[in-house]
Symmetry: C2
Subunit: 300 residues, 2 copies
């Protein structure tokens, strides 16, 4: 599938989706993404829900999320929304998610819907359309179903990050199983993704299929980088889960592109009891951008 | 985790979730499930959306779905909702899904939310809670993330069907890779599921973790049955995708339990231009129940 540079994606954005992500990273000199995983019991004082109703909970995490967007936007160009945190509150939560993603769009942030969807055929196309309507430029997806479960998510020009090697403790149970041919299962997944991403490469060298690869295993990261030459690597696990800045180096190419470090709780809950919580969140985002921007060679 | 027989699940139902599913199968002598995958361009005459708006589309598939529930309930005790078909229409679609699942509950149908969710920790718990609130007794989930991504879905007594071996053409790319130890990747997934399901077994012999195994490969089905002795097998691919009744036999135990054949389009679109479309759908459900009920030994 060849990508027109003027293509309009289902989410209504114009341009090659991977190029737009790369451009956003370069503009901010920040190959990082802030993850929005809002939960009601960690909101700043004054933003707690008015009642126990789903509607009030959804409204509270929406206000918090909008505050986060305003706090981080000077420093970071990409934001990832954890769909589960919003779906938790039913249709009201989904409506809140939609408004938050549109608010991110209004702030010129590139959006990732972290919904880890995975289905085939028309159902996969429905999920892809749903992501676009929600305002997602990218969606995280699960590749267990193979190509049938992957390509529908990029058919209309949107981007998708496939879960290749996750950073959770039990991620290795299936993903690190050694295959008869000497590869691991995760390597087989990486090569599947790579083959499907290659024909969609844009002018910055990356295709519409990225890969989620945990930042907790530096040696592994280097291997996945080599198996996925055309994919932006979305890397959770930095900081909170033990990944270090130095370990990220192999993920970035000579132009500072190719990797996107995502951090959630360490940024969005970087406040104590102070009333000016947004300024603490902004500082945490600025620090993250600076640390990773330096490793990638985008900052000195 | 031991299951109290009087446990109340997050979806508000009382009793062991696998026992309730088994009882429903025995009551109807029908080890089958009708899949609701509604799309607007296949609705019966008279049910088409009033406009192109998401709200009208959601409303149209809701009316159709309620009609399907009424048509099939004399014959079938279990219904599976394809979440993608509803999410496609944004928050309105999600609200419609919620009402449809509650309507299924009102009709004493056991409900499966076919959303193929998969995440870890608090996010997985959020998805599990979301399924319960939607009215799902069971959820389909993706086990790529290992135990961390599976157990949160059954922690509160709900059930989950893990995608073990799917019936789509590219399902084999990852799932059928041969491991160094002689198993396939799907067998490793089956054994992971089996180990986690065993401690949750109820009085009918089945645990809270079922498995999705395509009905299109009879020899494989027999193997998966042996690897998953405590799991109800949810089997798509019967009829439309080439699975035959005889090939299903190994999935059922001596009491006729252990397997649940799911059919979607062959039932819900079993009508032509007739005005009494519900009666055609009811007949298709009755035929499915009869064919599979006989194979399971629940009907003569």
């Amino acid at each position: 599938m060849s990508m027109e540079s003027s293509v309009e994606t289902p989410s209504g954005m114009v341009g090659h989706t991977a190029d737009r992500l790369c451009d956003s990273i370069l503009t901010k000199a920040a190959p990082v993404c802030v993850g929005l995983d809002p939960v009601v019991d960690r909101l700043p004082a004054g933003l707690s829900p008015q009642s126990d109703s789903l509607e009030d909970a959804a409204s509270a995490i929406e206000s918090f999320s909008i505050g986060i967007l305003d706090a981080i936007m000077p420093h970071v160009g990409v934001v990832k929304f954890q769909s589960a945190c919003f779906e938790r509150y039913g249709p009201s939560g989904v409506a809140a998610l939609h408004r938050c993603m549109m608010a991110a769009r209004d702030r010129n942030l590139v959006t990732i819907l972290d919904s880890k969807r995975g289905d085939i055929g028309i159902s996969a196309s429905h999920y892809a359309a749903a992501s676009g309507q929600m305002g997602g430029d990218w969606t995280t997806i699960n590749g267990w179903l193979g190509e049938d479960g992957i390509t529908p998510f990029i058919e209309d020009g949107a981007g998708a990050f496939v879960l290749v090697r996750t950073s959770n403790p039990s991620g290795e149970t299936i993903q690190n199983q050694p295959l008869k041919d000497g590869r691991t299962v995760a390597q087989a997944m990486a090569e599947l993704v790579s083959g499907l991403s290659e024909p969609t490469v844009g002018s910055r060298g990356y295709g519409l299929l990225g890969a989620v690869v945990g930042a907790t295993h530096p040696a592994e990261l280097e291997s996945f980088r080599s198996w996925l030459p055309h994919s932006i690597l979305l890397m959770p696990g930095y900081g909170a889960q033990g990944g270090t800045a130095e370990g990220l180096k192999p993920c970035f190419d000579s132009t500072g592109l190719g990797g996107l470090v995502t951090a959630s709780r360490s940024v969005i809950y970087a406040f104590g009891s102070e009333t000016d919580w947004m300024s603490s969140v902004g500082q945490a985002a600025a620090l993250l951008a600076d640390e990773v921007g330096k490793v990638a060679g985008l900052r000195s």
